[in-house]
């Protein structure tokens, strides 16, 4: 961990610079200078991509016949809500 103030930056490896531009009550504004081929993503976007890929597998054949019933039969699920 290290502490940085607005206007200060840090380097990751030889090519990536991360600068703290401003800090407000809503959050920190961060500038990133990196080579074009370096992917910069918000972490929650990466998590969502992975989660969507997993969700897209869905079900096959016999599993599908059982799935709704099993999900419905779970005590934590209240079917009356929409």
């Amino acid at each position: 961990m290290l502490r940085r103030r607005p206007g200060e930056s840090l380097l990751i490896g030889d090519d990536v610079e991360v600068e703290i531009l401003a800090i407000t009550a809503q959050g920190a504004k961060i500038g990133i200078r990196a080579p074009r081929e370096t992917v910069v993503l918000r972490k929650e976007l990466k998590i969502t991509q992975q989660q969507n890929e997993e969700a897209a597998h869905g079900l096959t054949g016999a599993d599908f016949q059982q799935a709704p019933e099993k999900l419905r039969g779970n005590s934590k699920i209240d079917p009356s809500l929409r």
Binding site: T48, Q50, Q51, A56, H57, G58, N74, K76, L81, R82
Partner: protein, 158 residues
């Protein structure tokens, strides 16, 4: 009427105005711009978000309140704008928007719902997007069902 080749239900027909448009697709599926919602009484409360372009892409989902009764929306201003919704407040569930939690199934059979990134559908304009929360209030793997006998109560298996 549109004929939709679906992953689980063969060919279904739906009206064109029932199609939800996702201008930016969904994370990891950026090219998928059009989905239809399939709600069948025999599968309730489970619903299906079927891609119009790829029959094999069909997400399983729960209305968000089914996954978590007390769920509080926190759609960002950018997402509200993209959905043509009032930017000054959160939309009303069930009236203005339908909000879904996508379901992932693990090793036959535990299931989790993504409460961190709900799919928000504007019921009036039929715009949709996946609204990733900026906070860390909800899990992207909220356990909703687990393996084992139902009578014995939920049993965590993952």
């Amino acid at each position: 009427m549109l004929s939709v080749q679906t992953k689980y239900f063969g060919i279904l027909s739906c009206r064109e105005e029932e199609v939800f448009e996702f201008l930016g697709g969904m994370p990891a599926f950026e090219d998928e711009k059009h989905f239809v919602l399939i709600e069948l009484p025999e599968n309730a409360p489970l619903v299906f978000l079927q891609s119009l372009t790829h029959p094999t892409l069909c997400f399983l989902a729960f209305p968000i309140l089914v996954a978590d009764r007390a769920y509080q929306l926190a759609v960002s201003v950018e997402d509200l704008t993209a959905l043509n919704l009032d930017r000054g407040r959160q939309p009303e569930l069930g009236r203005e928007v339908l909000v879904l939690a996508l379901v992932s199934l693990h090793d036959r059979f535990s299931a989790t719902a993504n409460l961190m990134a709900p799919v928000v559908l504007n019921l009036k304009t039929h715009r949709g997007l996946q609204a990733i929360r900026q906070d860390r209030v909800y899990s992207h793997q909220h356990l909703i069902a687990s393996r084992g006998p139902v009578a014995g109560g939920p049993e965590v298996s993952c």
